[in-house]
């Protein structure tokens, strides 16, 4: 039991996270300091959780898509659309719950649309979701009529900046989603079916798995997660910025999933490790910020990280270091 726990802690993603945190600590000795103020926690670590939440939420949706050998490029644009819908509705006087529900519905519909293109029309995922990646931001701009729609709705602002039990609301939402989705895929057979479809869709269909339904589910979930992230980001800046909300975040989400050990070729996947991937990315961002380096460094360091991950997951590394450093082989306990 003890050995199993230790064994799991020794996985490459957690080691990498520990490494990044350690470097942050060396560069910025106050990195681990957490204080309690006005009924909530403050500190760089809390900041990592807060800022990392949107990408973590995107990654929770993205990991299922990637496990089916797909990819969802539209999540950034869907974030912008969801934010625009929520903001415009509250500004127009609708109560916040209606605005949130509408934004979530838009996200879900976007995801189902992607799923329809991939599952029913058999369009390659990268192209299918590119459609909405381009169109979605345009639609968001149409909704906001080109303006940044600002609002003062306390509920939306609470979702973006509030706190619960001392933790930032965004992080709480991400954690709740992580738990729900992990239970959903691992306590039911959905996870196995997703992996089966990702490994061999033809065989999955012949084995009696409704692969079309399943693809609709995973793309739908991805859209829904994108909408949640979009609402959080809008609440955070108290406005919907159709041009910039969620810009390029689809790439961060994909990177998080890949760092989490899920191969772009589909198959084995792990939701918690994808979230760890998102936290690693954010820990680097925050580390660079608090240690006083110019933020431009961020892009270079991120590129370095991508490079490192690719090397670790390459076939050559597999031969040199057989067991540990491979992508998720057996994600299940």
């Amino acid at each position: 039991m003890m050995r199993r726990i230790l064994g799991q802690l020794a996985n490459p993603q957690l080691l990498a996270l520990a490494g990044v945190l350690l470097i942050n600590w060396l560069l910025f000795p106050n990195f681990f300091r957490i204080t309690w103020q006005d009924g909530r926690l403050f500190g760089s670590l809390i900041d990592v959780l807060n800022r990392g939440a949107p990408v973590a939420i995107l990654a929770i949706g993205m990991v299922g898509v990637i496990a089916t050998k797909g990819v969802d490029l539209s999540v950034g644009a869907v974030m912008a659309m969801a934010g625009a819908v929520a903001a415009t509705l509250v500004v127009a006087g609708y109560p916040a719950p209606i605005a949130v529900a509408a934004a979530l519905t838009v996200g879900l519909l976007c995801g189902l649309w992607n799923g329809f293109l991939v599952a029913v029309l058999d369009i390659q995922p990268i192209v299918a979701t590119l459609v909405l990646m381009v169109a979605g931001r345009g639609i968001a701009q149409l909704i906001t009529q080109g303006f940044i729609v600002t609002f003062n709705d306390p509920v939306l602002i609470f979702i973006g900046t509030g706190s619960f039990l001392g933790l930032p609301m965004a992080a709480v939402i991400a954690i709740v989603l992580l738990v729900i989705v992990t239970l959903l895929v691992r306590k039911t057979a959905l996870g196995l079916f997703i992996e089966a479809v990702g490994v061999n869709r033809a065989a999955a269909s012949l084995a009696g798995i409704r692969s079309r339904m399943l693809l609709l589910y995973v793309y739908g979930l991805s859209g829904l997660c994108a909408a949640i992230a979009g609402i959080i980001v809008a609440g955070d800046i108290r406005g919907a910025d159709a041009n910039n909300a969620g810009l390029w975040l689809e790439l961060d989400a994909i990177l998080a999933v890949v760092i989490g050990g899920t191969s772009l070729l589909g198959g084995r996947f792990s939701v918690p490790l994808a979230v760890v991937g998102a936290i690693i990315i954010q820990a680097m961002n925050t580390g660079i910020l608090v240690s006083g380096f110019p933020p431009e460094f961020n892009l270079i360091v991120k590129a370095g990280l991508i490079f490192l991950v690719l090397i670790i997951q390459s076939p050559l590394a597999g031969r040199l270091f057989p067991a540990r450093l491979r992508p998720v082989q057996e994600a299940r306990k």
Partner: protein
């Protein structure tokens, strides 16, 4: 083994993977101008030996000699330089490029630094002619049949290498005529002095074309013999190290009482796929399906299972009309289907043996009522044992198992769903003799337990042994239904060949 005229020789090859000895002191000599069959069950070490000869693996100890001179073969390019060319079962050429480009890929003739397409196509035409292929060198390779692609691959290997040709199960996806054509080419190349290694699972083909045979078992070389002085039984005995008896392989099935009708297909068909056929299948019987490749056998199986939807006719299950438009419809009624192309449609390569076994049962249960790990282990363990699946662990990825064991896993997958009706498409193709016997035994056992089975197979002896009726397909049409005394290979061949029903006279 003191023979100077070996074109290629391996001496004392030992290859160790971890703590597993894949090859144990194997000698292998290949003469110029011979066709040398390499036989062995899956896992006997055939592919390891081939990979050492072609430089894909390095031997732990031992030597490779070309024309009696020790050579270092570090990679496939170097093997090519020593005159060794290989053609694999799955043609690994570029289907979306032209035939000529495939022939010359990597060494295109150039003119002023640019590829001289005209010369390339002219040269290609000459080469193709020598292989009896009258196709346009500028046409896309993928547009041609597998057989033609196979011949192009051989032509490329011979042109590049020219001394030794290794054919790794080249006939697995060819029909009878295509195999014959391939054999002509092999004989032709032999006459020109090429040394050919021929790996196959079909003993008939070995005896039809090869001069000598080397048999491997468990990583050891058991025998190298001229085929003139061995019999078929000798070869099988050497491969297995024991005598195998295929149960009931002797001939006509005893007249057994048929169970009640389970399934009744009436004028069931699909446009451009299978002509409407009428067939009723009883509990406790095996209906064999014979016919050449591309005769509509697989298409028939697919519409029976709902993998393709029928657009004509109707089907009755236990007396009631039902609709089978997709696999889930079929599975909910207790159908199972082992497809012909195991790798593309059967296995989930990266998933474990355990998951591969329980997946159809889990699919039937639905996603919400998941089998937990212990239940999965129990089910997988039970069928793993019953089917004698040889895997180091049920948690290892299925792609690491041999073809025969993979086939047993897929069969187990359906048995775990407690089926009433199984469709097996070429269940014994490309698998070793031991797994073959196990699968034939299982077919007999399931029939005796009252299941209805449809078995498609190219091996007539085998179909004859376990079928109580045989349906013959030709040109996508069911042309004959044979029973009783007509169940023998002669009548079947006649029915396949000339469309006339081989009635008992």
């Amino acid at each position: 083994m003191v023979d100077a005229d070996y074109a290629l020789e391996a001496r004392g090859i030992i290859k160790v993977f971890g703590n597993h000895v894949a090859l144990d002191n194997v000698d292998f000599g290949l003469r110029a101008g011979e066709i040398h069959a390499l036989l062995g069950e899956n896992g006997a070490g055939k592919s390891t030996l081939i990979k050492i000869l072609t430089g894909a693996y390095q031997p732990t100890t031992g030597q490779v000699l070309a024309d009696g001179v020790p050579v270092a073969v570090d990679n496939p390019q170097q093997a090519q330089k020593h005159g060794i060319g290989t053609v694999y079962q799955e043609v690994n050429l570029l289907p979306n490029r032209s035939v000529a480009e495939n022939l010359f890929l990597g060494h295109q003739p150039t003119r002023f630094g640019l590829v001289d397409r005209r010369k390339m196509e002219r040269d290609s035409r000459d080469i193709l002619e020598r292989y009896g292929l009258d196709i346009d060198p500028a046409s896309e390779l993928g547009a041609h049949s597998v057989a033609v692609q196979q011949i192009v691959a051989i032509a490329r290997a011979v042109e590049l290498s020219g001394k030794v040709l290794i054919l790794d199960e080249p006939t697995a996806s060819l029909d009878r005529n295509e195999v014959e054509r391939l054999f002509e080419i092999m004989r032709d190349l032999r006459a020109k002095g090429l040394a050919i290694v021929f790996i196959t699972h079909f003993l008939d083909q070995v005896f039809a074309v090869a001069d000598r045979v080397t048999i491997l078992r468990n990583g050891k070389r058991i025998e190298t013999r001229a085929l003139d002085d061995v019999t078929r039984t000798d070869v099988v005995r050497l491969m297995l190290g024991k005598d195998v008896a295929f149960s009931g392989a002797t001939g006509v099935q005893d007249a057994r009482p048929l169970g009640e009708v389970l399934l009744d297909f009436r004028n069931y068909g699909r446009k451009r796929s299978v002509h409407p056929f009428t067939l009723s299948i009883h509990k406790g019987e095996v209906v064999g399906v014979a016919g050449l490749l591309g005769s509509g056998r697989t298409e028939m199986a697919r519409i029976m299972f709902g993998a393709d939807a029928a657009d004509e006719g109707e089907v009755h299950f236990e007396g009631k009309p039902v609709s089978i438009a997709r696999p889930t419809d079929a599975i909910s009624k207790g159908f199972g289907f082992c497809p012909e192309d195991r790798k593309a449609e059967g296995i989930f390569g990266d998933l474990s043996v355990r998951e591969n076994i329980i997946i159809a049962l889990q699919g039937k249960l639905g996603w919400f009522s998941a089998l937990n790990r212990d239940e999965q282990m129990e089910i997988a363990g039970k069928f793993g044992e019953a089917m004698d699946i040889r895997a180091a662990s049920l948690d290892m990825p299925i792609k690491l198992l041999s073809g025969g064991n993979q086939q047993k896993v897929i069969l187990s997958r359906w048995l775990a769903t407690d089926p009433a009706f199984l469709i097996l498409d070429e269940p014994t193709r490309g698998i070793d003799v031991g797994a073959h016997a196990e699968i034939v035994r299982t077919i007999n056992r399931l029939r005796d337990e009252g299941l209805a089975l449809v078995v498609i197979s190219s091996e007539l002896d085998e179909v004859v042994a376990y079928s109580s009726r045989i349906v013959v397909m030709r040109d996508r049409e069911m042309v004959a239904e044979l029973s009783g005394k007509d169940i023998n290979p002669g009548v079947i061949v006649q029915a396949i060949a000339n469309h006339k029903e081989g009635t008992a006279s």
